[in-house]
Symmetry: C2
Subunit: 571 residues, 2 copies
């Protein structure tokens, strides 16, 4: 997708949100409007409404939208002094918009722009399409709750989501992708494959069943082994840490809303939302020599972040998760080389898990809030760019989207049905080394500040597994399968023979299970298929006599009869 | 130690605490007395004093005690109606004792006893020694803080600890043991071996350094592998769970004081102090058939328990720790066999870690609070006893010390200097299966309650490592050593040769490090010895030419020169 068509899509989708608002105002003249931006594939608009919407409202609203679109209404822009705008919004009782304008005024704005479409007028910067005839493929998708300005102490709004495309074909493609996504929904797969569950008592925190815990551990162990190969050392820091630490790190100021707090012995503690402050404290215990750098501390830390229960979504959006976190402390001279290593490491890992397509972005200095001078930012950004060049990689730029404490690389993967997922990150941090007074002794015998890199490749294991399940539709790579082969005795008299074979396969390192239920042969085969077991091994009289196995390999039509020795060669 | 001499010791030590109180009252006539029981090796007494004690006070108090002891004062018992006792204690302004008597009165007591020694009179049940000439070996050891009745909202008291023995020889032995213990203090070893640290920001929660994290992971991986061999499946449940769950499990009622609470979206959550309720929820998701039992769910759960900061002690008493927890659900018929397996498993593990001496205790039905009828308790206790008999093991009985929900086995190990540590536990639970309505389908097609066993072998990995460090004085078993061999180049020009050898050893699975510092050879050797590295490999010109290694094996006087191939044979 080139840059131009992307802008087109954004404009298109933003314009569709205005038409949605127009339709909703026709239906509920007293509706208060929140905001209505374009998002990936579509748009939403937030409303304060006199009643709760039901799914059946969507077709009605959509019909009104189609009616408006057919009139080929123009999008007309005009500007007004901010005081006039305030009067107008007061008069039309758009209280939420009044608040937005008040904010703009505080920021020193003197004029604002409006867009008018038919009878509908909205405070808006634009841009918009010329007229509604460009809206050839618009569809409303679902309703959810949201809070005004994301603040759960402000009024709860109702958010209507929709999609908009340049053509009916694109909409069809999207619908096809959605049907495919639904089949791949990791929450459903998690149930079917008996991997994990959620309970009301712990919103956003998974209960890992034995099969799921196996997958989880295999992912963690894979990363542990890679870390070791690549010169990382592993540490672990506490889960509950006092607010003094979070004040020192700046999280108390910037991240408090997302943290769990608790009090004891007149001290306030928080359940950690990030591993970095604990990691910095551990680094600060010693004053290493430049000869010991780079120091690469990996931590598979369990973190907790408060998310509103309304936005929790399976393993994709959770409150408790484990990161494959690492903090690298190096000299400025080592920075570029470390970044090269991180990029190589990250893309190697994605390939090992079966992701062949990924995109990299460099996020640069934010316009407003940012610490560190321009030269430092430029050097760090150069290091990121040079590393990319060295590896002959392409990258996109997210202007101003860096963290306030430094620029970063974002790693996105594309899944089997074309969706993009942000997973890994590599962030340079100018902030924490200052706040924790981190030092090393240089060649000159003096103290120096190390450069600190935060990097996560998997990101959150929970989220990564969700993406992997949806990418593979549940056919996980073999090394993540807790049951690579399942023995299916055709009748109970072959159970013993089956157990003998299981024992042999297990002794050869093939993770093997057996179905000893009273189900019929066809039911057992069907169950094995539903669980997506890679190899189903049917054992009956023929097999018991010949010492061979009848193997049904997943995804292959024909079954084969082969010796155990030959079967083991598959692994 | 036979039962009689144990009673003697208790009496002796309790009597010593009266003499301590007498001496303190001489020094501080306004002192308020708390309680003064006998404990292992000695005694303590709690006081509310007009000033904070300093260590220099101890010899002064001890001198006064010796003076009292020399007078050969008699311990004289007398009884009084409880109202008289109250009047007396009021008159002598012993407010804390007044509170104790009030408690006895509420419990329906009508008479209480006092003991008089010289001028000192104390509310006391006894028994006591006849006279102070039996106190031949008494010594005060240290001061600490405590709360009246262990309640941190009540006055803070000062506790003086002492030891008392039947003879000067026994005291000397104890002092020798203490000197040996001090050398083995796991907190000191943790620093020296660079395993872990503690910070003010997280009292009672360790920061694991790379070397310590290695030991930790090796312990966990050892248990994971054993679990798998022994038919356990691993699960993981959330860390933060809502109070609804803790009310259902009974922890809210019985364990609330030791839990961290937090609120969000108008719900109360607790950081889990135990894994069982989450485990029960997971079990309850399915209704297994009797054919699937026993189900053995292992969970390496991180738990948090609030402990007053005054009682925290290195890794031995912490707020955050990981348990090698498991919950076994079985039929009543399977119970005995499961217990046999648990006992075998537990003692096997202790032996693997180098503990050869252990004691087992059965703790039986508590007199007061206990759920379940006598028959059920008897059956369960029989199962524990029968399992012991089957394994030809001796056991002690802790009458009435079972949990309120069922009888249990406690596993104690004896360390290299004769101290006992309680580590593992195997508890039968009649409570949670009821509270969580756990069921399986029996052969009759009906629902049945499974028997639930809680078992932990390591107990807390933190505590276990503390005991292991003190037991081995830091010379951990080889499989727990992150650096089994360290290469020491005699000068910088042999660094390259050293690195070559390191690479070769690593490729053969020998965890090898190298000392590339600018230190002198003797300093490097000394550092390697301080870190208790099992093998130090000196590499100089001779070694580089001959391709051999000069090996200094820990604990051996002589060094050997052998080929790399021969060295590898050690592993």
């Amino acid at each position: 997708m080139n840059k131009d068509s992307k802008i087109d899509n954004e404009t298109l989708r933003h314009s569709a949100s205005h038409i949605l608002a127009t339709a909703v105002l026709e239906m509920f003249p007293d509706a208060k409007l929140g905001i209505g931006p374009a998002i990936e594939d579509g748009f939403y608009y937030d409303f304060l409404l006199p009643r709760t919407l039901i799914p059946e409202d969507l077709p009605l609203i959509e019909k009104k939208m189609q009616h408006l679109i057919k009139q080929n209404l123009k999008f007309e822009k005009y500007e007004e002094p901010i005081e006039e705008a305030e009067k107008f919004l007061h008069k039309t009782k758009q209280d939420l918009k009044v608040e937005l304008v008040a904010g703009l005024k505080e920021d020193g704005e003197t004029k604002v722009s409006f867009y008018k479409t038919g009878n509908f007028v909205d405070l808006c910067k634009g841009p918009h399409i010329d007229s509604t005839n460009k809206l050839k493929a618009v569809k409303l998708t679902h309703i959810s709750g949201s809070y005004w300005r994301g603040d759960n102490e402000r009024p709860q709004l109702q958010r209507i989501y929709g999609v908009a495309f340049n053509s009916k074909e694109e909409l069809k493609e999207w619908e096809e992708r959605m049907r495919e996504s639904a089949k791949r929904d990791h929450r459903e797969l998690g149930k079917k494959l008996d991997l994990f569950s959620f309970h009301h008592e712990a919103p956003g925190a998974a209960f890992w069943h034995p099969r799921g815990k196996f997958v989880y551990d295999q992912m963690v162990n894979f990363m542990k082994a890679e870390n070791e190969k690549r010169g990382y050392e592993e540490i672990a820091t506490p889960i509950v840490l006092s607010s003094e630490l979070w004040k020192q790190s700046g999280h108390y100021e910037n991240f408090k809303e997302n943290m769990y707090f608790t009090d004891f012995e007149e001290r306030e503690f928080a359940v950690k939302p990030m591993n970095c402050p604990g990691g910095c404290q551990l680094f600060a215990e010693k004053l290493p020599s430049y000869r010991e750098l780079p120091i690469r501390h990996a931590e598979f830390g369990i973190v907790h972040r408060l998310e509103l229960s309304g936005v929790l979504h399976g393993l994709l959006r959770v409150r408790q998760f484990t990161q494959d976190d690492a903090h690298i402390y190096c000299t400025p001279e080592q920075l570029e080389d470390e970044i090269v290593k991180i990029i190589e490491y990250t893309t190697d890992v994605y390939k090992s898990f079966g992701f062949e397509n990924f995109e990299l972005f460099i996020a640069t200095k934010p316009e407003k809030k940012a610490i560190g001078d321009d030269t430092t930012w430029q050097k760090a950004t150069n290091a990121l760019e040079n590393a990319m060049r060295k590896l002959k990689l392409d990258w996109g730029v997210k202007e101003g989207e860096g963290a306030f404490y430094g620029p970063k690389i974002e790693f996105n993967v594309k899944d089997a049905i074309g969706r993009n997922w942000q997973l890994g990150t590599c962030q340079i941090d100018f902030n924490l080394p200052e706040r924790f007074d981190l030092n090393y002794i240089g060649e000159d015998g003096e103290k120096h500040r190390p450069v600190m890199i935060h990097r996560a490749i998997i990101g959150s294991f929970e989220r990564f597994l969700a993406v992997l399940l949806e990418h593979t539709a549940g056919d996980l790579p073999l090394f993540l399968q807790s049951e690579v082969a399942r023995i299916i005795p055709v009748a109970s008299e072959f159970a013993k023979e089956g157990e003998k074979i299981m024992k042999e396969l297990k002794s050869k390192g093939v993770r093997t299970g057996i179905d000893l239920s009273n189900d019929s042969l066809s039911k057992k085969v069907r169950n094995g298929e539903l669980m997506k077991i890679p190899y189903l091994l049917v054992v009956g009289e023929k097999e018991a006599k010949s010492g061979k196995l009848t193997v049904r390999e997943r995804g292959k039509e024909k079954q084969e009869t082969i010796s155990i020795a030959d079967f083991i060669k598959n692994f």
